[in-house]
Symmetry: C2
Subunit: 457 residues, 2 copies
């Protein structure tokens, strides 16, 4: 029997996940708005037989443009362009349930899934922060619980829209002039708390049925949502122990929601910083830290912790009297992760900024390719991960180094595919079945169970 | 001095603009959801040195799927995929101001403009019909005037968002760690009747500043809107006389709005049906008419005229007591065009359906390539058109025939470019200047005047 296979996602971000990466001599500070940069990254990831690419997003400009490359191409648009420049790799776009309408978003994902031959994925976010809210007619951000309630209804509507055409609704009988079968079209006629959507969708059912559903928040609301809907979860975990606890919790919640625990893949973030020796890797890490502008970092940290400007001192620890996660309406799980990291490792504000600069709370691991592969294998075989969300500190060089030096080791150990197989959809890559249509009761049970059906070509 | 140049747009639609085109032996009834079909069409249009491609759209499924290929890939998504498969041609996507938010839509168009090197255009529609309204939380369609009021405010917000980054806001100084200049970022801070949008946009200003603005409604509200904002106008005109009157009216309204009449290009729709003789062209037209399912056509016509089902008889003329355009809340100018066509040519319902089957109210012209070129030249030199919106009855063959047989004649007469020039944006193709940023007062006067500025590379 073949070994259980590792899943790798390439999390693409501008010139890299380290906030100072754009200042390195090798980096192009305009890369984040250049198609060629992303095409190059996508092709490197395909060379490494990654499962997917991923783009984070928020519909607002983050803080000052003075500090680092700001703004971003809209992810669905950029990934559509990348669909035509790649052949195998999955394309996961972040989109907000708070600031989109189900009809438009369901249609865009169905369109990308069709155009890419079944490679679309949706990272479902509820979007924290007042800045985004103010771009969409609101004065303040909706409460965390309300955002998640809207997200759940959004998903229900979207799933109904994606199932509003049965797979065989198209007849295409030229002789009689009958193109489609109206009895196989099912308008959702949804009337709920947040949405009224008549439907049906105006796109036929796509190769995957609907995009792979991905989720990335680890708060209580976020975990409940993931257990119900998500097929892949991105998470930030600093230690293998914490990761193991999170993994076990999420799998058991998924079982409790009536789903197969194999149908949710857990991928912690990993920022690999490679060197041919450990000392060389640490030196590369220090070069990046030396490029951080610490005065910017203080302001960013104050924003994250919801403290007034001027509250933090660079060479002192965090204040002792920070509010609990329950009082935070923004990105809850990220708040707790940062505060716990600072306390556990007794970091000053300066040291904390240095640590966050690399992966914004994700695990940074500096070492030789062998050491990085060992760490990956330890987590993967130790019940802490089904794969990793690879977040290179510098792009494209960090992704290239990972594919050149770590991927061959993982392949030699039988943990990672050596080539893409004949099956082509993103769910095929992650070992997940194509979801049945909720209206085709004789073929499969209704959602949320996921019964295997043949992949459309 | 070179001759005034003709502008050509290729209006792409499934297997062609004739409603029965999908039933021909040559047609692929799944073409409308196949990327390869559209890539092929785009490359034919580029061979013909067309200015642009265009996709119509509405966020709803039209009527029954029984009649003809239904549903469509979302236009911005499809055109983004085509951007990477083409090099020169403009990409005009339809999107609704009634069923989108300005922030999301402005960002998507800015992203496509960047990814395509300045080739994006937006066909601005307000979207008639209750079917669309019911997909977005409404029970009935908003009144025509209200849709246009929202559209005007939408445009104002979008223009502010596109100008929220000055062209030189990015500094990229690696030495000092300063990436952007915050004084060159201008949040709109818009609070209006329909929208509150703080901004700024999270995408830098794009190669064209913003997409080419296109409009296609010819009602009173539509013309007023076009005079104020549009740089290209698609219109349905059945006779050169009507077209001349429309052209003169729109140019004079544009002058009255304080704009240069050269900065609005008028493109009537034209359905060319080609044959090596006139008789052969007429025979090709009859083959298409023979494939129409007339019982479907009656229902569609009743919907358009807002009559109860069963009101129309196939072999009788239209009823005499139809309501005036002012009583119609849907697609006003199309309503009037269809009614006038039936009355002017004394058509029965069957004959009217036959005429509409080809181009839905646009001018169908069956003839030899020479005759079609003559018709184009007559309109173009006679004050009726700045170019044409070419709507082949059958695709891809009709577009291919036009490029093979009509384009060489137009080139030989000096009316159409023989190759794309070195300037690359969609506005360059249409001979329009790049719009100045409204915040850069020393370089150019404020909008709506369009002062030339250098094209970004």
């Amino acid at each position: 029997m073949p070994r259980r296979q590792l899943h790798l996602n390439a999390f693409l971000m501008n010139t890299g996940h380290h906030e100072a990466s754009w200042r390195l001599p090798e980096s192009d500070p305009y890369a984040h708005v250049e198609l060629d940069h992303y095409v190059r990254l996508a092709r490197i990831a395909e060379r490494g037989t990654f499962d997917s690419l991923f783009l984070a997003d928020g519909p607002q400009l983050w803080g000052s443009v003075g500090q680092r490359p700001a703004g971003a191409l809209e992810p669905l648009t950029l990934l559509t362009a990348l669909a035509t420049a790649t052949e195998h790799i999955g394309l996961i776009a972040t989109a907000s349930t708070s600031y989109n309408s189900p009809y438009n978003l369901a249609r865009k994902f169905a369109s990308l899934d069709i155009l890419s031959g079944g490679r679309a994925g949706w990272n479902i976010v509820t979007t924290a922060g007042a800045e985004a809210a103010r771009n969409f007619g609101l004065d303040a951000e909706p409460a965390h619980a309300q955002r998640y309630a809207r997200a759940a209804e959004f998903l229900d509507v979207a799933l109904k829209l994606w199932d509003s055409w049965e797979d065989d609704a198209i007849v295409a009988d030229k002789e009689t002039g009958v193109w489609g079968d109206d009895t196989k079209i099912h308008p959702p006629r949804h009337r709920g708390t947040y949405f009224s959507v008549e439907g049906p969708l105006n796109v036929p059912r796509s190769p995957q049925g609907y995009p792979l559903l991905v989720q990335a928040g680890s708060s209580e609301d976020g975990r409940a949502f993931a257990a119900r809907y998500a097929e892949a979860v991105f998470t930030a975990q600093q230690t293998v122990g914490d990761a193991r606890a999170f993994y076990a919790d999420l799998k058991s919640r998924t079982v409790a929601a009536g789903r197969d625990p194999e149908h949710i893949k857990v991928l912690p973030g990993l920022v690999p910083v490679l060197g041919s020796t450990e000392a060389e890797a640490r030196a590369a890490e220090r070069v990046l830290e030396d490029h951080i502008v610490y005065t910017h970092g203080v302001g960013n940290l104050e924003r994250l912790l919801q403290l007034p400007a001027g509250s933090l001192e660079l060479d002192a620890p965090l204040p002792a009297d920070l509010p609990p996660e329950s009082a935070i309406e923004g990105a809850k799980s990220r708040y707790t992760l940062v505060v716990e990291l600072a306390r556990r490792d007794r970091l000053t504000v300066r040291e904390l900024i240095g640590r966050l600069g690399g992966g914004r709370g994700h695990l940074t691991f500096a070492g030789t390719p062998e050491q990085v592969a060992d760490e990956i294998e330890t987590w993967f075989t130790g019940g802490a991960a089904d794969g990793f969300n690879i977040m290179p500190a510098v792009l494209p060089s960090g992704l290239d180094a990972f594919v050149e030096h770590v991927v061959p080791i993982l392949r030699a150990r039988g943990l990672l595919r050596t080539a893409y197989g004949p099956r082509r959809t993103l769910r095929d890559r992650y070992g997940l079945p194509r979801p049945a249509n909720q209206h085709v009761k004789e073929v499969a049970p209704p959602l949320p169970a996921h019964a295997p059906t043949p992949t459309l070509v």
